[in-house]
Amino acid sequence: MSFRNRMLAPLLVLFAAAVGYPLIYSFYLSLTNYSIIHPKTTHLVGADQYVRAIHDPDYWSALRVTFIFVICSVLLELCVGMALALALQRQRWARNFTRSFLLSPMFVTPIAVGLMFRFLLNQQLGVIPTLLAKVGVTYDFFGVDRALFSLVVIDVWQWTPFMVLLLLAGLESLPRQPFEAARVDGASPFYTFRRITVPMMSSVLTVAVLIRSLDAMKVFEYVYAITRGGPGTQTQTAQYFIYQTGITFFKLGLASAMAYILLAMVMVVIVILFRSVERAKNA
């Protein structure tokens, strides 16, 4: 074995143990009828669990809810995060204080954020509905067709700082010359943003969107703490559904198959995204 490979070996061993084994074992489980409470009757069932998952309308409903959640939350976080990053880039005083203050939501554990908003948005006991009522506004935050959007807003509150962090780093690493040239040529701020900032930030934007999308795809805590998937199944996300199937209902084989289908979908999206970025770079 060459020296280079020997140096890689510890990392590969660690990777195989920490990531490879769980992945392989859960894939094996997805090919069985494994149920925690019936371990002695476990046997291979081929692709049956995948077929079962694909034919489960609740699974597709959960996937749809998850994708809506991811698209809405990441888009909002991107827009708000970019606006904040641009503002922070121009800030002249109290920069460190503002930045640390803005970043604070993402240091709170998501389950605590969920519980916090559960009561903050409570119509009878929460401070936000009380303040809204004082100006004559009544809004059912967790009502039909609204609960999912409320969860999106909570996610935006917590994770926009992360977007700000990435985008601000990207903005501050951009060369100054193109912006100075644009200013000399009399370009408007919007034109400069559209024609210079965004193209030059494309790699950072892709990575930021990708990281946040993958993270948002894992949404579980807000659902668990606030809505439990309701009203009906309107906020039942894929992670919550898979958790219930595997851990609450003991069906680990089926839950593993559901997780692998989700993983395959995510991998396809990632590959397409990276290829499009590569093409844009080469064009």
């Binding site: 925690i36 409470i37 019936h38 371990p39 559960r118 009561f119 409570n122 119509q123 009878q124 006991l125 509905p129 009544t138 809004y139 059912d140 935050f141 967790f142 009502g143 039909v144 609960a147 606030i226 809505t227 439990r228 998937g229 309701g230 009203p231 009906g232 199944t233 309107q234 219930q244 851990i247 609450t248 209902f249 003991f250």
Partner: protein, 439 residues
């Protein structure tokens, strides 16, 4: 499951009672009879010389704290049994004990089992039958446990769990508001709806409801179903809720949510309802019977409203029942020490000490014991609990209960949200429940 908030305010007084009892008692005896107000004594079936470490996983609630406080007293009788209690949140208990049940070397030697899990765990072979141990324990008087509680711990004719504490539901209402409106506790579902409507004012909702998707929605609506004269299971042991009684119950439930519950409370569960009632923002709620002492505790979370709350059975007299059981894992290496502890704690005298300290009762004799009434929360409260425990049923029996309860609770919640019609929700709920339980 329903014990996420348990009488924290009562705990100090309860523990004081235990400590007082402990101090008053002589050192452990080895007699097999447990009676009177003496300290719980040794279980006749297990010699006091038995030794071992009993690791038990419990929910971090005041009932657990009551048990912890009784351990020194237990060790006076069984000095060589070291009971180690690990307290965690409810949602982690099942994962951990199931893992322990299947391990060659168990992580836990004794378990508490929530009633929806009992059928699955017993049939999976995770739990040891207790019939022989119960029969061999003099003075244990197993039949003294309320029958609905005994039924939960009995699977396919064998006893796998002995009752720890109940979480049966009842109607908790504001006496002052009822008196002001000239109302008596409702005896029919229609009366409950009419009372809630009458009590509904600008500042106070008629009733705090808990239609959150899943367990909570089904648990609350189950009481309405019983009040409408329905039942969850038919004589064929299949779920039959798509019935005229089921329809009446769900229509009333939805109508009351729309007309008398706090606005926008579709995702409310136990915590929200409790806070609403204790803050004087709702006149009543369907909740766990042991919430009454909490609400009436002077200086507790109800503030000036303390003492204004009363407990009643649901209209019609029948309500939903919940229970935590003690069970010995089949892979436990210290089953004698397990039973020594369980039989000591759940014996008539152990139960008496536990209930006086603030634990939720399970034995009929305790509910009529004048000493318990005097040192506990009063005869009126225990009389109401006796009625509740005497006529109640769990949401589910048989297999796959968690999944079945979630499925039905999802349909109930969808109907309340207006996403489904009452007929569709009941049909879907019944079909899914039977399909799940047949797996």
């Amino acid at each position: 499951m329903g014990s996420t908030l348990r009488r924290r305010a009562m705990l100090a007084a309860g523990l004081s009672a235990v400590i007082g009892l402990t101090a008053a008692c002589s050192s452990g005896t080895t007699t097999g009879t447990d009676s009177g107000s003496a300290a719980p004594s040794a279980s006749g079936s297990v010699p006091t010389t038995v030794s071992g470490t009993v690791r038990v996983l419990m929910e971090g609630v005041p009932d657990t704290d009551v048990v912890k406080a009784m351990l020194p007293e237990f060790n006076k009788v069984y000095p060589n049994v070291n009971v180690q209690i690990e307290s965690i949140v409810y949602d982690q208990i099942k994962d951990k004990i199931v893992a322990s049940f299947q391990a060659p070397q168990p992580t836990y030697d004794l378990a508490i089992i929530d009633n929806p899990w009992m059928g699955d765990f017993a049939r999976a072979g995770f739990l040891a039958p207790l019939d022989d141990r119960i029969a061999a324990t003099p003075g244990y008087n197993y039949d003294d446990f309320a029958k609905p509680l005994r039924d939960i711990g009995t699977v396919d004719g064998k006893v796998y769990g002995v009752p720890f504490y109940n979480y049966g539901l009842g109607l908790i209402f504001r006496k002052d508001l009822y008196a002001k409106a000239g109302l008596q506790p409702p005896t029919t579902l229609d009366e409950l709806a009419a009372d809630a409507a009458k009590l509904n004012t600008a500042g106070t909702a008629g009733i705090a409801m808990q239609p959150q998707r899943g367990y909570k929605a089904f648990e609350e609506w189950g009481n309405y179903l019983f009040a409408a004269g329905g039942s969850i299971y038919g004589s064929d042991n299949k779920v039959h809720i798509n019935t005229p009684e089921g329809k009446k119950a769900l229509e009333t439930y939805i109508s009351m949510y729309k007309s008398s519950a706090p606005a926008n409370s579709l995702n409310w569960a136990f915590d929200e309802a409790l806070r609403s009632v204790s803050a004087g923002k709702s006149a009543q709620m369907v909740s766990y019977n042991w919430m009454l002492p909490t609400l009436n505790k002077s200086g507790g979370q109800s503030g000036a409203l303390a003492g204004n709350f009363a407990l009643s059975t649901m209209p019609g007299g029948k309500q939903v029942l919940g229970l935590w059981d003690w069970a010995i894992p089949a892979n436990s290496k210290v089953s004698d020490a397990d039973w020594a502890f369980v039989s000591w704690l759940t014996s008539p005298s152990g139960e008496k000490a536990r209930v006086i300290a603030g634990g939720a009762p399970t034995r009929n004799s305790i509910l009529t014991d004048p000493e318990v009434a005097a040192k506990g929360y009063g005869a009126e409260y225990y009389a109401a609990v006796a009625k509740i425990l005497g006529n109640s049923a769990p949401l589910c029996s048989g297999s796959n209960c968690d999944e079945m309860i979630t499925a039905v609770g999802t349909e109930i919640n969808a109907a309340v949200a207006g996403q489904e019609s009452v007929d569709d929700a009941l049909k879907n709920a019944e079909d899914k429940a039977n399909q799940i339980q047949a797996q």
